[in-house]
């Protein structure tokens, strides 16, 4: 077990190194010369050259990569070209809305999608099953901003039940916080719900064929207990895996959802950074999201033994 954990943790190092190399190359080949930008319009070529040397921009690619990695380890992601603020500071300012949105979406999606998949598998072939699977195909096909606008139009503009846009910090109370997050979370969660519901249904269908389910029925276990205790437990591993993989969808979708609902999070930061070609910020956000994604999936891999004690490494 311990050896497995060590091996698995070590295996993420090359993945992270490749992500880091890619993200670094992004800034390396980005058009525009940071030294010239810093030097300003009045600078002579000598000034630009001096700044370039002081920034270390004249050193070879791999040396710069090394020192960049070293900076990241110390928590230094560079300075925004546009605002002159450290990228880490900018990310810290924007992280709460994004984190809130993701956590609410995750909880909402899992608590809707898993029961949906279970019921679809239980009632396989009936209209309930078809409705769930039809919804899943729709969820995959309707882009997140379309769902977002539709929900905002119906529930915020027409019915006036929820705020149209914006974000209220958690520190100002739970109710205003959640009110602002429900619509974005449903919009962002639609693909995710479709994904989890499909996998849950498929896995449950397989598990429900097993002998131990028949045994549970024979001993007189109730339908609910069979579905949610006996079957769902055994179907947990693929479901949890896909929840982890689906985080990538959440991250990508958050960028758009935050634009639709005017949430001042990391997604907005990314969009603004792209429009301004603020490469250090783009780099920082991509790096952060990718590392979070890798670490979440690492954690899930390591947690398999909890969901399924039969797994031994």
């Amino acid at each position: 077990m311990f050896a497995y954990v060590v091996r698995r943790v070590l295996a993420t190092i090359p993945v992270m190194a490749i992500v880091a190399l890619f993200v670094f190359s992004l800034l390396y080949i980005a058009p525009g010369d940071p030294a010239a930008v810093i030097a300003g319009d009045q600078a002579t070529p000598e000034d630009v050259e001096r700044i370039r040397q002081s920034l270390g921009l004249d050193r070879p690619y791999l040396v710069r990569f090394g020192s960049w990695v070293f900076d990241i380890m110390r928590g230094d992601l560079g300075v925004s070209i546009f605002t002159n603020l450290p990228v880490v500071t900018m990310i810290k300012q924007r992280i709460e809305p994004t984190l809130s949105l993701m956590i609410v979406t995750l909880c909402l999606a899992v608590s809707i999608a898993v029961p949906m998949g279970v019921v679809a598998a239980w009632k396989v072939g009936t209209w309930i099953d078809r409705a769930v699977m039809g919804f899943a195909v729709l969820g995959f096909s309707v882009p997140v901003f379309v769902v977002g606008y539709l929900l905002a139009y119906i529930f915020a503009l027409e019915l006036d039940w929820l705020p149209v846009q914006g974000y209220t910090s958690f520190s100002q109370g739970f109710v205003p916080w959640i009110e602002n997050l429900i619509l974005p979370a449903v919009a962002l969660g639609s693909v995710y719900i479709a994904l989890i519901a499909r996998i849950t249904r498929a896995t449950m269908l397989e598990v429900l064929q097993q002998d131990y389910i028949r045994t549970a029925r024979a001993k007189g276990a109730g339908q609910t207990s069979i579905l949610f205790l006996h079957a769902l437990k055994n179907a947990a591993v693929p479901i949890v895996t896909v929840i982890g993989i689906g985080i990538a969808l959440l991250i990508g979708g958050a960028v758009v959802t935050e634009s639709v609902f005017a949430i001042p999070g990391l997604g907005r930061l990314t969009v603004d950074a792209i429009l301004r070609r603020d490469y250090p910020v783009i780099q920082g956000v991509v790096l952060l999201f990718s590392f979070v994604y890798v670490l979440v999936n690492l954690a899930i891999d390591l947690l398999y033994t909890l969901f399924d004690p039969r797994i031994r490494y």
């Binding site: 090359p14 039809g134 309707v142 996998i199 896909v242």
Partner: protein, 308 residues
């Protein structure tokens, strides 16, 4: 409608396929022949294919479909509600939304098909190398793992930040983001095919590797590749619209569904139709491509078909 339409999708490599229950006595099957029979047996291919075909026709014959110049400005007639004159209304610059939506189909379809094609070709090549060249496998797969751990929309956004917004660059950026998935699929297929007795037999007969690949491996990758390509196409159309929507995609001068929505965004609370029409067309097209993919998957992989 057969149950195959609504079967679980090929959404993740870890997807677990459901086993179909088999009754002891099969009901009598009425076999219908020809194209109509095929359509009858595969309603999702029929529905998805028809809609995709209609969209292609709409994109090709856009100038003939009672459209006007989609970029023609008419400030005096801006933000008109949908009417007999302006079917889908006009946007804030007075451009006809109907014409823009019809022309916008071109960008979405071109991007979708081009990404599906290029990602398939590149993924096929990388997957074959990875599956056959042992020493390269480790390196290639680590690189693919790295690329896959960057969420694909972010990867495409990052690549678009490097270049000017143009349809070609959008295709390139989305293709790069989609390649890892395709090459992983191909590699998996190749590795399992290598263990097949007929490949062993070919090897023992002294068949050269290129011939084995051409004759035994490639034909067997076509079915899963076709299915994957349709999903890649659907996902590329969504990513294109997202890129255009956030202003990092197709340049605003070219009408694309994402662009029209991006421009309608500022006004959506008062003039929701500007966002509504491209959204509906985009969703229907992606839905149709996904249906086509599901149908192809069931039709091309008889082992997975849940038809009785």
């Amino acid at each position: 409608m057969s149950a195959s339409v609504l079967s679980p999708g090929d959404v993740a490599p870890e997807a677990v396929k459901a086993a179909a229950p088999t009754p002891d006595i099969m009901p009598p099957v009425k076999v219908r022949k020809g194209l109509w029979g095929f359509m009858y047996r595969n309603p999702s291919i029929a529905i998805g294919g028809t809609i995709v075909l209609l969209m292609i026709l709409m994109a090709v014959f856009a100038p003939l479909l009672w459209t006007v110049d989609p970029t023609a400005l008419a400030p005096a007639r801006r933000t008109r509600e949908p009417s007999a004159m302006y079917w889908f209304g006009t946007d804030m610059l007075g451009r006809d939304v109907y014409s823009r939506v019809v022309y916008g189909a071109r960008v979405s379809l071109i991007v979708g098909f081009a990404v599906a094609f290029f990602a398939s070709v590149a993924g096929l090549a990388i997957g074959l190398i990875s599956g056959f060249v042992r020493w390269a496998d480790g390196i290639i797969m680590r690189v693919m793992d790295g690329l896959m751990s960057i969420p694909s929309i972010l990867l495409a956004i990052a690549l678009m930040a490097l270049t000017r917004g143009s349809v070609g660059n959008v295709i390139l950026a989305i293709t790069v983001a989609e390649i890892p998935r395709v090459s992983r699929l191909v590699r998996g297929v190749v590795l399992s095919l290598r263990e097949q007795p007929y490949v062993d037999a070919a090897v023992s007969c002294g068949t050269r590797t290129p011939v084995i690949i051409w004759r035994h491996i490639l034909p067997n990758t076509i079915a899963p590749m076709t299915v994957q390509a349709t999903y890649v196409c659907a996902s590329a159309m969504i990513v294109e619209s997202i890129l255009s929507f956030i202003g990092a995609g197709t340049p605003p001068i070219i009408p694309s569904w994402g662009n029209i929505m991006a421009e309608g965004r500022a006004l959506w609370q008062v003039k929701p139709y500007i966002v509504f029409f491209p959204a509906v067309f985009l969703s229907i097209t992606v839905l149709a491509v996904n249906l086509l993919g599901d149908g192809l998957r069931d039709a091309l992989d008889p082992r997975m078909a849940k038809r009785l």
